[in-house]
C-alpha cells in the first residue's frame, strides 16, 4: 500500500484555523503595546489581512512565534494564547459539554480541527495515571519555536482542566528543554507539577480525575455537538507525522523503503524532510529516543526489555545508541530520576 503524495498536508501549506490563533496572538500583543507590524515581520502577512479570513501556513505561524520570542518582556503571550485556543473553533461546544476528560482525548486525537493538527498526542496508561506524549506534527523551525509551541499546548491543557474539573487538576508536565528564566509564567499559568530538561514533552493526569464525571457535562448536548463536528471536513493527514508513525511501525526502516511507501523518490523524500527542518536519521533517532525514554522512566523497564523492543541485538549496542540520542546512559537517566524525586521530597 503506497500513500498518495497529495493527500497530506505539509508545513508550507495553508492550515485552517491557524489564522484565528494568529489574530489572537497579535491582538494580545497589541493590547500590551506591541506594534502588530513588528510581530508580522517576515510572515508576508499584513494586519489588514486578518479581516479577510485568509488561511495561513504553519511556516507563517512559526515565524510569528519566532518574532514573539524576540519580545523579552512578553513571555506571557504564548500562555495567554494557549488558554484561548478554543475560541472560534468548532470543537468548543464539545469541550463545554463533555462528560469527562476522556471524552476529550478522542476529539483531540481523532478530530484535530482548526489548528489542533499541529499537535499529535499519543495516549498511554500506566499504574493509575494517563500519559500523553505530545509531538509537534509538523516539527518546529527552531528550538525556541518548539518551546513556545509547547507552552501554548501546555497552557491550553491547563486551562481546559481548570475550566472543566476545577482547581485540583493534579497535572504534571515534563518539557524537553532546560528550565527557562521566566519560570514564573509556568508556575502561575500551569499551576501544576513541572519538570524541565526531560526527554519528551509529556502531560500526565491521574485516572480518577481523567475519568471523573463532570457535573456540568451533558451527554445529549455532547452527542449533538459531536454530530455537528462530523460535518466539518477533517484536515488532511500531516505528512511528517505519518512518516513518523510509519517509521515506528517498522523494524529496521531504510530510506529507500520509506520513500517508496510514500510514493516519492529518495531525493524528494529527503527534500521534504529538510523542508520540515529534520532529516531521516534525526527523525528516526527522535522516535527511538522518545520510546526508550518513556519505557525507562515511566514504565521503569530494564535495559534488556527496552533493547529487545527496539530490536537491538544486545544491550551494549542499545546503551551506545541511547547515549547518542539523549546524551546520557540509560542508568544515568534512571539515577537522575531518583535523584530529583529524592530532592523534591526533602
Amino acid at each position: 500500500m503506497s500513500a498518495k503524495f497529495e493527500n497530506f498536508s505539509y508545513i508550507d501549506m495553508p492550515c485552517l484555523g491557524l489564522q484565528s490563533w494568529a489574530v489572537q496572538l497579535v491582538d494580545l500583543a497589541k493590547n500590551r503595546g506591541i506594534d502588530p507590524d513588528r510581530l508580522l515581520k517576515g510572515t508576508k502577512l499584513f494586519y489588514q489581512d486578518f479581516t479577510t479570513g485568509k488561511d495561513i501556513s504553519i511556516e507563517q505561524f512559526y515565524r510569528l512565534l519566532e518574532n514573539c520570542n524576540q519580545l523579552d518582556n512578553q513571555r506571557e503571550l504564548s500562555f495567554l494564547l494557549g488558554s484561548k485556543l478554543l475560541n472560534h473553533n468548532p470543537l468548543y461546544s464539545t469541550f463545554a459539554h463533555a462528560n469527562s476528560l476522556s471524552d476529550l482525548k478522542k476529539l483531540i486525537t481523532r478530530a484535530p480541527l482548526n489548528g489542533f493538527n499541529l499537535f499529535n498526542a499519543e495516549h498511554r496508561y500506566h499504574q493509575g495515571r494517563h500519559y500523553f506524549i505530545i509531538n509537534l506534527s509538523f516539527g518546529a523551525s527552531s528550538p525556541k519555536v518548539e518551546q513556545l509551541t509547547c507552552e501554548i499546548f501546555a497552557s491550553f491543557i491547563a486551562a481546559i482542566c481548570k475550566w472543566r474539573i476545577g482547581k485540583n487538576s493534579n497535572l504534571t508536565f515534563s518539557f524537553p528543554y532546560a528550565k527557562p528564566k521566566y519560570i514564573e509564567q509556568y508556575q502561575t499559568n500551569l499551576q501544576a507539577d513541572i519538570k524541565f530538561s526531560q526527554q519528551l514533552f509529556m502531560i500526565s493526569i491521574c485516572s480518577k480525575l481523567y475519568n471523573k464525571k463532570l457535573l456540568d457535562g451533558s451527554p445529549n448536548l455532547f452527542k449533538q455537538s459531536l454530530s455537528l463536528v462530523k460535518y466539518y471536513q477533517l484536515p488532511k493527514k500531516v505528512w511528517l507525522q505519518q512518516v513518523r508513525n510509519y517509521l515506528e511501525s517498522l523494524d529496521n526502516p531504510s530510506l529507500e523503503h520509506v520513500s517508496d511507501h510514500f510514493g516519492v523518490s529518495t531525493a524528494t523524500f529527503k527534500r521534504k524532510l529538510k523542508k520540515h527542518n529534520t532529516n531521516f536519521s534525526a527523525l528516526l533517532d527522535s522516535i527511538y529516543q522518545q520510546k526508550a525514554a518513556f519505557n525507562i522512566t515511566t514504565l521503569e523497564k530494564s535495559n534488556e526489555n527496552v533493547a529487545s523492543e527496539l530490536n537491538f541485538s544486545d544491550s551494549a549496542n542499545f546503551r551506545r545508541a541511547f547515549k547518542r540520542w539523549t546524551g546520557m546512559t540509560p542508568s544515568q537517566l534512571r539515577y537522575g530520576l531518583i535523584n530529583t524525586s529524592l530532592k523534591s521530597k526533602t
Binding site: 494580545l28 493590547n31 500590551r32 503595546g33 523579552d72 518582556n73 513571555r75 506571557e76 500562555f79 495567554l80 488558554s83 486551562a159 481548570k162 475550566w163 476545577g166 482547581k167 485540583n168 528564566k181 521566566y182 519560570i183 514564573e184 509564567q185 508556575q187 502561575t188 499559568n189 499551576q191
Partner: protein, 298 residues
C-alpha cells in the same frame, strides 16, 4: 515643533541673503563635519525632549534653552559656507552670544526637573525601590516585573548573610477566579482590573516595600526588614482593602465587588536563607495549597 522649523528656516534665509558664498576650495571640510554633527545632534535632543515630556514649565524652559543653543551652533555651521560683507560683519560677532543664555535657561530647567523628579520618585517609591530600569517594567500593571523582583530578592538575601538579626518577608497574592472574570468581561477588562489592583496594593504599602506583577494574575510584595507577625498584619489589611474594592466594568457600568484574593506569606532569616528561585517556588506552592484548601471548604 513648528517653532523649531520656523527659527531654523529664518536663520538660514537671513544668513544666506546677507552673506556671500565661499568657493569650494575655501571651505574647511573638517570644521563642516564637526560643526554639522553638533547641529544635527542638538536638533535630535530637542526632538527627544519634545516627544518625551508632557507640556509644562520645565519642558518650555528646556526647549527654549536647547533652541537658543542650537541657533548659535547653526550660525557657526553656516559660517563655514558663507562670508559676510563689511556692513553685516556683526553677524560674525553675535554667533557666540546666544550660547550662554541658552545654557543658563537649560540649567534652570534642569533644576526644576530635579524638583519634579523628586516629587515623582516619592510617588513611585513602592514600585521601584532604589533602582530605575525601564526595561524591567510590566506594561499592564505599570509595576516592576518578575525579573526585577528576583534581583531585589537576591539583594535582600545577600543582606541576610552578613546580619543575624535581619529578616524579610514576601507575600504572594493571586486573584481568585480571575480566568472566569476574563471569560465573562474580556481580557481588556481583566487587564484593567490588574492595573487597579496594582495601584491599590501600592497605596496600601509602607515606603520601603516593593510590589511587582509576577505573572498572570499573581503579584509579589517584598517587605524588607519585616517579621512574620508584622507581615501577616500587612497581609490582612491588604486583603481587606482588595476585597472591599469595587471594580466598574466599562461596558455596562456594572460594579463588581468582593473579588476574592488568595495570599501566601514566607519569612526568611539567615538560618533558612536559600536562593530566590527556591523561595519563589516555595511561596507558589503554599499559594496553591491555600487555594486548594479554600476550594475544599467551599
Amino acid at each position: 515643533m513648528v517653532i523649531l522649523i520656523i527659527t531654523w528656516v529664518t536663520t538660514f534665509i537671513l544668513t544666506l541673503s546677507y552673506g556671500d558664498y565661499k568657493s569650494a576650495n575655501n571651505i574647511d571640510w573638517f570644521n563642516v563635519a564637526g560643526e554639522g554633527s553638533i547641529t544635527i545632534i542638538t536638533q535630535l535632543w530637542i526632538i527627544f525632549v519634545l516627544l518625551s515630556r508632557p507640556k509644562g514649565r520645565v519642558t518650555t524652559l528646556l526647549f527654549t534653552g536647547f533652541l537658543i543653543m542650537n541657533l548659535s551652533v547653526t550660525l557657526d555651521f553656516i559660517d563655514e559656507f558663507v562670508r559676510y560683507n563689511e556692513e553685516h560683519s556683526w553677524f560674525d560677532k553675535i554667533e557666540s552670544i546666544p550660547t550662554p543664555f541658552g545654557m543658563v535657561l537649560m540649567t534652570l530647567a534642569l533644576y526644576y526637573w530635579h524638583q519634579e523628579q523628586m516629587n515623582i520618585n516619592l510617588q513611585l517609591k513602592s514600585r521601584e525601590r532604589f533602582y530605575r530600569e525601564h526595561q524591567l517594567h510590566d506594561v499592564i500593571s505599570g509595576l516592576a516585573n518578575a525579573d526585577y523582583m528576583k534581583r531585589q530578592i537576591s539583594n535582600e538575601l545577600s543582606l541576610l548573610v552578613n546580619n543575624d538579626q535581619y529578616v524579610f518577608s514576601l507575600i504572594m497574592l493571586d486573584i481568585a477566579q480571575f480566568n472566569q472574570f476574563n471569560r465573562q468581561f474580556g481580557d481588556n477588562e481583566g487587564d484593567k482590573l490588574l492595573n487597579k489592583f496594582a495601584h491599590l496594593i501600592c497605596d496600601n504599602l509602607r515606603d520601603q516595600d516593593l510590589v511587582c506583577r509576577y505573572a498572570s494574575d499573581c503579584f509579589i510584595i517584598m517587605l524588607p526588614n519585616t517579621e512574620l507577625e508584622e507581615a501577616e498584619k500587612i497581609n490582612e489589611l491588604l486583603i481587606d482593602t482588595l476585597e472591599g474594592f469595587s471594580f466598574k466594568v466599562c461596558k455596562n457600568g456594572r460594579l463588581i465587588s468582593k473579588q476574592k484574593v488568595h495570599t501566601s506569606i514566607i519569612t526568611t532569616s539567615k538560618s533558612e536563607a536559600s536562593s530566590s528561585d527556591k523561595l519563589l517556588r516555595e511561596l507558589h506552592c503554599r499559594l496553591l495549597n491555600s487555594k486548594r484548601a479554600f476550594g475544599q471548604v467551599k
